[in-house]
């Protein structure tokens, strides 16, 4: 099992560290899956993380100048690692002016992802900082736990409003309630609602547009709302934590079951699933 990668380009480095920061905000620990062409950050829906799951996918070619990996076997050319994304985020945080960043899998005392940062210095030689991030190597028999979640059979799929706007709305609502109702219809309308004994607040968004899914429910009444009540903290975490500035953001609502968010940015896609509360 071998892995080595290198980033030289500053823009790529910044982009990569923004993605990692986003992941770090969403998951305390996650699984990093490495394949020849892609990197995946996966959080599977365990009860321990509140039923939330995450799937983030990036093309290595758009970030790395060098990328070499070799999985356990030729027919299973993949590596699954468990890591604390916050560690990776911290390692990259002080690498913003780096000449080069190298990431490689090592096994000195324990399996580690070694991030070696080459920084400019006042002297003739560069300053070198290494961060050994402990990782757990996930054995092949457990790989099935980390399959890509399928797009749920949703009732309504809708484009999200500007995330910043949505974030400020949700942040205010968070002070009033622990849960939020997201409802949307196929007419491009979405409402964010909180209801408590003292106050009911609804923010209406319209003309958002509905993405053209081939399998979407054709027979559904355009006006009828599909709704799900979710943990407002989880939603706020997603909106506040995301740093990828997606070109496209949408959500799929399965009535009373789950809300599936998809944030797309050229070479990065982030899917986030928040289960509905009872």
């Amino acid at each position: 099992m071998r892995f080595r990668a290198k980033i030289v380009d500053l823009a790529c480095l910044n982009h990569f560290s923004r993605v990692i920061n986003t992941i770090a905000k969403l998951a305390k620990t996650c699984t990093l899956r490495l394949t020849v062409s892609k990197l995946y950050f996966i959080l599977s829906d365990k009860v321990a993380n509140g039923g939330v799951s995450m799937w983030c996918e990036l093309c290595q070619g758009n970030f790395f100048d060098e990328f070499q990996m070799e999985g356990v076997a030729a027919e299973h050319n993949e590596i699954y690692l468990e890591l604390v994304p916050e560690n990776l985020a911290r390692a990259l945080k002080t690498a913003q002016s780096a000449k080069a960043v190298k990431i490689k899998l090592t096994n000195k005392h324990c399996p580690c992802l070694r991030v070696a940062v080459e920084l400019p210095s006042l002297s003739s030689s560069s300053r070198i900082v290494t961060h050994d991030i402990p990782v757990g190597v996930i054995p092949r028999r457990l790989w099935n736990d980390f399959r890509e979640p399928s797009v749920p059979d949703f009732d309504v799929s809708i484009y999200l409003p500007v995330l910043k706007t949505m974030k400020s709305v949700v942040e205010r609502m968070k002070n009033l309630s622990n849960s939020i109702v997201i409802e949307a219809n196929l007419n491009g309308e979405m409402n964010l609602k909180i209801e408590t004994d003292l106050v009911s607040v609804t923010t209406h968004f319209k003309d958002l547009g509905n993405p053209p899914w081939s399998n979407s429910a054709q027979d559904r009444d355009l006006e009828s709302m599909a709704e799900a009540r979710i943990d407002i903290k989880k939603l706020q975490q997603l909106l506040a934590g995301q740093q990828v500035n997606p070109t496209k953001a949408l959500c799929n609502i399965v009535s009373k079951r789950i809300v599936h968010f998809i944030l797309l940015h050229e070479d990065v896609s982030l899917q986030y699933f928040i289960p509905a509360l009872a």
Binding site: T94, K104, T106
Partner: protein
């Protein structure tokens, strides 16, 4: 007047020079700022003879710092700052003469005290390093703000390394990220160190001093000796002399051998990462390797030395390690008494009749 006070507890003022000193509650850190009279526009060493004597007092750090809170706004508004020591009234008066004729007067209560002096001798330290504060400040940003201790040592090729100190939990492969930084010799102004030497000290106090050093744009000199002996950081210019003395973690001989967090011998070469030798890259790693990783060598322990009485022998001043109970907060291991007999332990204030206005700061801890 820019005063870099991020220290913990108390101050002493001693004419004919003004000196500010403090020690933390566990006595593992001591700082002293010595201002030459020339530092000030005007410096008068008191009036009639009895007041002219060396005078020492302590004031609460909190109240003294309160006066200089929010430096940016002070710098904008304050024209001059007048500090008066009035022993008869038991008051330390700080007057800030601000714009528009506003004068702010702070009357601080103080207690007389004995001399607070850590015993250290930079001449006796075997290793010393001097670098612009900026170099060191840029080095420590790579460590997380919550990190307690950092190890300074020498790496291959004469490089100076800084790495976060990780306490090895019994047998468990550490789950902590290990950050290590190498600085080339030519980033330093002077390097005179014993090869293979390393020391571990608290990062927080060091960061505090670096903030001050960076602001005052002075090179910082680090003097150290064997692990367990204090490390001394000094800053000096014509009018100011600063010393920060920190306890360091002791390091029993035994822990030098196994490749633990302390072992310099096992530090990977930094060049390895950038020369790309195929071998280091081709580290075969099977999933089973994870289990093997648990056979981590024994953790470095802190020896249970026979504790010497606090004010026994002036030669014993540096360190008194106590056996650290595994799992206790890191600071506990720094229980070092590098203070000689100058301190009466828990002794009453020299002027018992005096009304105690500020509580003895020992109770702060």
């Amino acid at each position: 007047m820019a005063e870099g006070g991020v220290r913990q507890c108390q101050h002493c003022a001693v004419p004919p020079q003004l000196s500010l000193r403090t020690v933390n509650s566990s006595r593992s850190a001591f700082a002293s700022f010595l201002f030459a009279p020339l530092f000030f526009q005007l410096y008068e060493a008191g009036g009639p003879p009895p007041d002219r004597e060396l005078f020492r007092c302590k004031v609460l750090m909190k109240s003294f710092l309160g006066v200089f809170r929010s430096l940016p706004s002070l710098e904008k508004t304050v024209g001059k700052c007048l500090i008066l020591l009035k022993p008869r009234a038991s008051r330390l008066v700080v007057q800030l003469h601000c714009k528009y004729g506003v004068t702010k007067t702070h009357n601080l209560a103080f207690q007389e005290c004995e001399r607070l002096q850590a015993i250290f001798d930079t001449q006796r330290c075997t290793s010393s390093l001097c670098a612009p504060a900026r170099v060191l400040a840029e080095a420590v940003v790579h460590f997380p703000p919550t990190l307690a201790e950092v190890t300074l040592g020498t790496g291959p090729g004469g490089k100076i390394s800084l790495r976060n100190y990780v306490e090895d939990e019994a047998g468990e492969p550490s789950k902590t990220m290990v950050t290590e930084l190498w600085l080339a010799k030519d980033e330093f102004e002077t390097v005179a160190i014993t090869p293979g030497s390393h020391i571990t000290f608290c990062l927080k106090e060091f960061r505090g001093l670096l903030t001050f050093a960076e602001a005052s744009n002075l090179p910082l000199t680090i003097h150290y000796d064997a692990p367990g002996r204090p490390v001394i950081f000094t800053l000096a210019d014509a009018v100011l002399e600063v010393h920060l003395v920190l306890a360091t973690l002791s390091d029993p001989e035994s822990s030098l051998q196994p490749p633990t967090a302390n072992g310099v011998s096992h530090l990977p070469t930094p060049s390895e990462d950038f020369t790309d030798d195929l071998e280091s890259y081709m580290i075969a790693m099977e999933t089973s390797a994870y289990e093997e990783g648990s056979g981590v060598p024994p953790s470095p322990t802190f020896p249970l030395c026979t504790p010497h009485p606090a004010e026994s022998d002036p030669e014993e001043e540096e360190e008194e390690e106590e056996g650290a109970v595994p799992g206790t907060p890191p600071h506990k291991k720094f229980r070092s008494l590098f203070f000689g007999s100058v301190l009466t332990p828990g002794g009453p204030s020299p002027a018992p009749t005096q009304e105690v206005l500020a509580e003895d700061s020992e109770e702060e801890s």
